[in-house]
Symmetry: C2
Subunit: 409 residues, 2 copies
């Protein structure tokens, strides 16, 4: 362990992002929080921002504040595009939840081909899609009599590109994949999969929940068409902050939001009798947006913009590599196996280990001040949020995992 510790110290010393650790509210000094991939930590500035939104914007300015609030979904979307997602202005909106945003996109795409005699009949997903994505896709498939093809994840936790090639044909409406698996953190080559899908006139909806703020997504460079994602993980916007939705600009006007709420209505406050959608991405808004959560998304975006997403990805990978090194030296002999890709270019910012007693070990770890999370049946996920994680935390975590596991024998 001595070697790991001194290496951690040296890595922390040369970490250009270490100053960002101080941007977050302190937690208990002995706590090692490795669950930023589930719920990101609280940025200090978010306390001030929340207080301003509540005490001044709501408390004092009251209804007057709607003049600013009314455009938040799109102004935040533009900031997210620029600093986190690599999309263009007017392509992203911040609203609703990931679940609802996926529902809107998937249903809109399915309905676009209605009345078409050559209508496509299949949707492709992967075995590791996040449950809410699977439930939404499955239920729409059932509703419209479509077949769902599920791509298996192989032993290396990735999906062979050949499987995408095989699955996409001219009968596939769209594929829905997590850019980073919530289980293994495995990364899909978005550009390659987009190219395969678009080569047969199909499309892909990307779930960026575990990718946004952790790795360089580059929606434009990868020629992505549709995406959704949440903001409470690496974007540190707090529990239940609003999600985002992306549609490539040239595809927006053909789409119809199936949930036609007043925030998607052109000239909203004219209160027109008939629905007429806004032009542009804000047609995907629905009801009154969550204003507090929106401002906290703004704080999260700013932090990423300041650190730069490129530097964050690099540090996330270094943290993961260091953890895997610790696993190989200290944990491999205790029944753990690596359940994430070893190659950093195939990974996001969390690393999973599997162990037959994963549930119990997770619980013991939490009792000992190390907080990963458990995913059924045998996975422990260790999230390394590059904005606030230190290498020394990882070396200490490795030590605690070893001690706890030995103690349970």
């Amino acid at each position: 362990m001595g070697d790991l510790l001194s290496e951690a110290r040296s890595l922390d010393d040369s970490d250009q992002l270490s100053c960002f650790r101080d941007e977050f509210v302190s937690i208990e000094p002995d706590l090692i929080y490795l669950d930023g991939n589930s719920l990101g930590r609280l940025p200090k500035r978010s306390i001030e921002i929340a207080n301003d939104v509540i005490a001044r914007q709501w408390g004092v300015q009251l209804i007057e504040s709607w003049k600013t609030w009314i455009d938040l979904s799109t102004t935040l979307g533009d900031r997210l595009s620029q600093s986190v997602l690599g999309a263009k202005k007017g392509e992203v909106v911040v609203c609703d939840s990931t679940t609802i945003n996926l529902y809107k996109l998937a249903l809109s795409i399915i309905k676009e081909q209605r009345g078409d005699k050559e209508a496509r009949k299949k949707i492709v997903i992967e075995a590791d899609n996040f449950p809410t994505d699977r439930y939404i896709v499955d239920s729409l498939a059932q509703e419209f009599g479509l077949e769902v093809i599920t791509l298996p994840v192989d032993d290396s936790q990735t999906i062979s590109i050949d499987l995408f090639e095989e699955a996409f044909d001219e009968d596939v409406i769209f594929g829905c994949f997590s850019a980073l698996s919530y289980k293994s953190g495995a990364r899909i080559d978005m550009a390659a999969v987009n190219s395969i899908a678009q080569g047969v006139g199909s499309r892909v909806i990307w779930d960026l929940s575990h990718a946004g703020g952790a790795v360089v997504v580059d929606l434009e460079g990868t020629e992505s068409q549709y995406a959704i994602g949440c903001t409470y993980k690496y974007l540190n916007a707090g529990p239940g902050a609003p999600a985002y939705l992306y549609v490539r600009s040239d595809l927006i006007e053909a789409m119809e939001n199936p949930i036609k709420g007043w925030f998607s209505q052109d000239d909203q406050f004219e209160m027109a009798e008939k629905y007429s959608p806004k032009s542009g991405i804000s047609r995907f808004c629905t009801g009154t947006p969550n204003i507090f959560g929106s401002y906290l998304v703004g704080a999260g975006i700013d932090l990423i913009a300041e650190a730069t997403i490129e530097a964050l990805e690099a540090k996330g990978h270094a943290l993961g590599d260091f953890f895997i090194k610790g696993f190989e030296v200290e944990l491999k002999d205790l029944g753990f196996s690596l359940a994430s890709p070893k190659d950093q270019s195939l990974r996001g910012s969390h690393v999973s280990l599997s162990h037959p007693r994963a549930r119990q070990i997770t619980s013991e770890l939490i009792d000992h001040g190390v907080v990963p999370d458990f995913r059924t049946p045998s996975l422990i996920r260790f999230g390394f949020a590059p904005l606030y994680q230190s290498f020394i935390e990882i070396s200490r975590a490795i030590q605690v995992i070893r001690e706890v596991t030995i103690g349970m024998r």
Copy 2:
């Protein structure tokens, strides 16, 4: 004006709820805020609560807090049922927006009769339905080839009960009405309309946005089947706080949430491959809920529970009566007409005046420290939130309205 002023003083002196005014954060001393029907004011306790949620629950306890947060939608729903809506335990859930909640209920009801040869073909709404409700109903009607019947509002701003009798027949799937009109504040006799609808095997979805927290709704006593509503008006939960959804207990199990997110999944964290809905009202949850907003809903419910909804309704009516008296004495000769029912039992907690120059008058009033709101084309809405409004504010508002209008001549 002298008479009005002294009457206001005397009414304030005998106001049993006047102590609740101090429960709200002070606004500028000269500001008369009459827009609580659009965005309620900030309760002092909400600042502390928000700070606790952010700094302690999120900032320090982090992921551990999900143990409490996970049930918020239903625990809040139960508190709302008991103190505000007159529903039973297990019938209300707090989640999403009013728009999305209406979409879920309406689509679920429409789909329930699918495959039925005798399927009903009509939906009944009223001309004054809030736009988002109309857009949702219209779009679903179009989607499923249904006819929308719109009941006209008569000169007294109400809808004759005869019109409901005429409209509801055995071909009506459901009606969707605002219990209180967003324009006029006119109140519909929910029990009577429920009885008419149910008499022909039909149903009603009530939008309680302007009623919840302002008047006694009594969902159980009125034999209501379905309802939705927002929390940022008389529930004072802040901009974009989550909305609520009610289904009478005996009707829940037959319904299917069309948006099958993971928060509606039985044994959610088992992350099962196949969707299987929760039993009970929480099957209407969708994605990760807005936690900050949820806690602020809790603060709003508590205030209403302390004041009691019966006392609030009585005071709201008294405030409205006093305003109408002021209108008759001071404003009638200046081109204003009453655009709300004069009879308090037919009204909620806001009163509207119409005037040919309503837009300009509203703008002038705001410049002079009186904040109502304008609704196109010629309506000024004056909201009287019984928790924090005083009679003296109303007498001062009447005076300012008179002065401003005379000054514009």
